[in-house]
Symmetry: C3
Subunit: 317 residues, 3 copies
Amino acid sequence: MKHFTQFSDIGDFQESLKEMKKIKEDPFAEHARGKHKTLGLFFFNPSLRTRLSTQKAAQNLGLNIIVMNFTHEGWQLETAEGAIMNGDKAEHVKDAVGVLGQYCDIIGLRSFANLKNLTQDYEEETLSQFIKYAGVPILSLESASRHPLQSLADALTISEHSTQPRPKVVLSWAPHPRALPQAVPNSFVEFIKNMEVELIITHPEGYALSEQFTEGVRIEYDQDKALTGADFVYAKNWSSFTQYGQILTQDLSWTISEEKMKLTQNAKFMHCLPVRRNVVVSDAVIDSPQSLVLAQAENRIYAAQWALQTLLGGLSK
Amino acid sequence: MKHFTQFSDIGDFQESLKEMKKIKEDPFAEHARGKHKTLGLFFFNPSLRTRLSTQKAAQNLGLNIIVMNFTHEGWQLETAEGAIMNGDKAEHVKDAVGVLGQYCDIIGLRSFANLKNLTQDYEEETLSQFIKYAGVPILSLESASRHPLQSLADALTISEHSTQPRPKVVLSWAPHPRALPQAVPNSFVEFIKNMEVELIITHPEGYALSEQFTEGVRIEYDQDKALTGADFVYAKNWSSFTQYGQILTQDLSWTISEEKMKLTQNAKFMHCLPVRRNVVVSDAVIDSPQSLVLAQAENRIYAAQWALQTLLGGLSK
Amino acid sequence: MKHFTQFSDIGDFQESLKEMKKIKEDPFAEHARGKHKTLGLFFFNPSLRTRLSTQKAAQNLGLNIIVMNFTHEGWQLETAEGAIMNGDKAEHVKDAVGVLGQYCDIIGLRSFANLKNLTQDYEEETLSQFIKYAGVPILSLESASRHPLQSLADALTISEHSTQPRPKVVLSWAPHPRALPQAVPNSFVEFIKNMEVELIITHPEGYALSEQFTEGVRIEYDQDKALTGADFVYAKNWSSFTQYGQILTQDLSWTISEEKMKLTQNAKFMHCLPVRRNVVVSDAVIDSPQSLVLAQAENRIYAAQWALQTLLGGLSK
């Protein structure tokens, strides 16, 4: 694995799930592997779980860690090719990234969608420049269109908590006061459709995700119908892809409530966090024994550690 | 010791002072104790001494450290129970803290008083939720009503510099341009009244601290009378507790000056820092050989190390 | 070496270049040297290369590292002697620095020129107070008038890439939309004039650097004449020293372009970064094989490591 930015970077998905479970049993087994190697974590956006779980994973591997917030600790970066840089931006991303590659053996990058320009976001302008100019493995800490570490942790969590040979997994859109990227649901679909599950996406009309991700996956506009008999309910808001970045509805009848959960087969509730309580999901559901949100968060460590360990292996080859 | 947020968390205070002195003599003796353990330090407010001394202490113990500023690196947190989260706040403190508990073996937290709502501050709304939801030991890095690490370091400093069997210690209110919390004086009284000292508090009328802390301690409105014969003068501003969060006076006759110090028995001068020079204390006093402010700051390391070492011991039991 | 803030702190410059090359060959050879020592890195201004390369160097030496941004993580600092501190600033720099000295074995400090008051900047108000009050070695991470780590890395880079016994090195002023300090060109001249090179400075009239640095160095107002036959072209903008902090011209005919480079003897192009592309230098030049900008950035690690290793040696003596 050269970089880890999307599902297709993984060689053998089933094998990676097994490897994560092994890492979870003995997180310090490979503590010597990171010796004298430096992981740089670079944030263009806020982060809590990703920031902390990736540091924890790196510490488990004995890596040196450098964390930097580009928002206020460094310089504003220009991304346009050929720009005459006489404005606000002090440095071109290609120079900054070339430099980071001199100091880091692996680079983690968080760079969200701006939700203004679909092409720019889905072509992953910033992530692509990091891959092009860094000269070292890139670990996505959530990019404009994907959040692979979250989905890898989600896959592990489903795998651990599944009691069925082929569980029904429902990804349900939920209301939210802000326009959010599609990164989490995109990645979720990209990963989970490769598991032995029945995957259904449910959302109001106008909220279809890019077919690049949903091809071959059942989409159901009737949330109740989708939830019926579900084993896992994964709630998540996203803004419209087709009317790019728009909020089309904040319909609270899509909130995951106890009533909704009664339609399921005693389903587990999942969310990547942060979550708007009593908007995306009711307190009663997220605080119930069926809620896996903390289990998901814990598994972020092992997803990150799997990715780092794999990228480090690549370094020594 | 399960958490360290107040005096009563300490089992044997005299013993803890002895243990700190031992740690100070050989700070690296327990360097193996923190192996593979992670300390998370989370700040809702600025910090210099606490931030640095706690990191230094953790490094002495071989702990992994993760530092995060909630003010601008993470998400804004909701604290109200049952809130419908459709406003500015992206995550509920209970979810955030539950997650932190997945990644950290000990959590350090700084969360100041807002000085607007006495009940909220003195019920320690944020600290309480950390204790309730983290599932791991909490180390207070200053909460709304207490600053135990400061007071533990102050106790050590008094213990080291005392030349009397029962020294006279005066906590004196001092003027300040801003409204400050009562956390430092509250903790100071809570700790120092348990030492073999004669403790007196002096402040203008209207500045009485909560009786919860001052019960049994002599209060003297005449600063000169209080200072007479003192062995230690601890200066500190605080805003009014009874007229909660108000500045009632900025009377500069309360500034600790050379004249005031002449009333004492060649007293040592103490302050927790940061200090407003020539408002709280004159340059001549804080820069004199009698000033212990740097000794106090250094002892912050050993107070933090004692607390971490004790909490880590608790982990292994 | 007691501190590293300027050229004159170095004992034997030729020897230091050899030592850096040795460190570069085996960066982990002295990994035990930093054991149980703490490097504090304190930033009053943004930083990317300096921040990361110094951390990397410190990790190579096995140092503990504490990083802090004074801009938003700590308190605002007062610098005036004898100030009555009843305004915005919560702490005097002398108290803050005295405290840092309790926690750190070496202190790295970045504090830029404000470009408003020449005397204040060139007397190095903040740096001087760190030296005066810290009680431990100070490593300049760029001060108001100098950037020694950059120039040490530049000297190493010139030394590595020189194919002439006495190469011609041209420091050329270049246009820029913002008023920048003279720290980089000052230090560059201070260091490079002590190498076996022919050093020429070229700039428009009004941009003369302080004679304190340029004494004995040829200055040429005709950029084309200066560039002719050059082996190294070091481009850098700075604001006027004589009309302190002013932008006198943004004349784009000073931009280092392919045409300009044709005047040279196939010169190497150098810049400290961050750089305004197509203002200071054209894309074609900085992206050409002649560009050493990434080599310079990499050498920042070994310059920092040399400085830290030397300062640590001083500690053990």
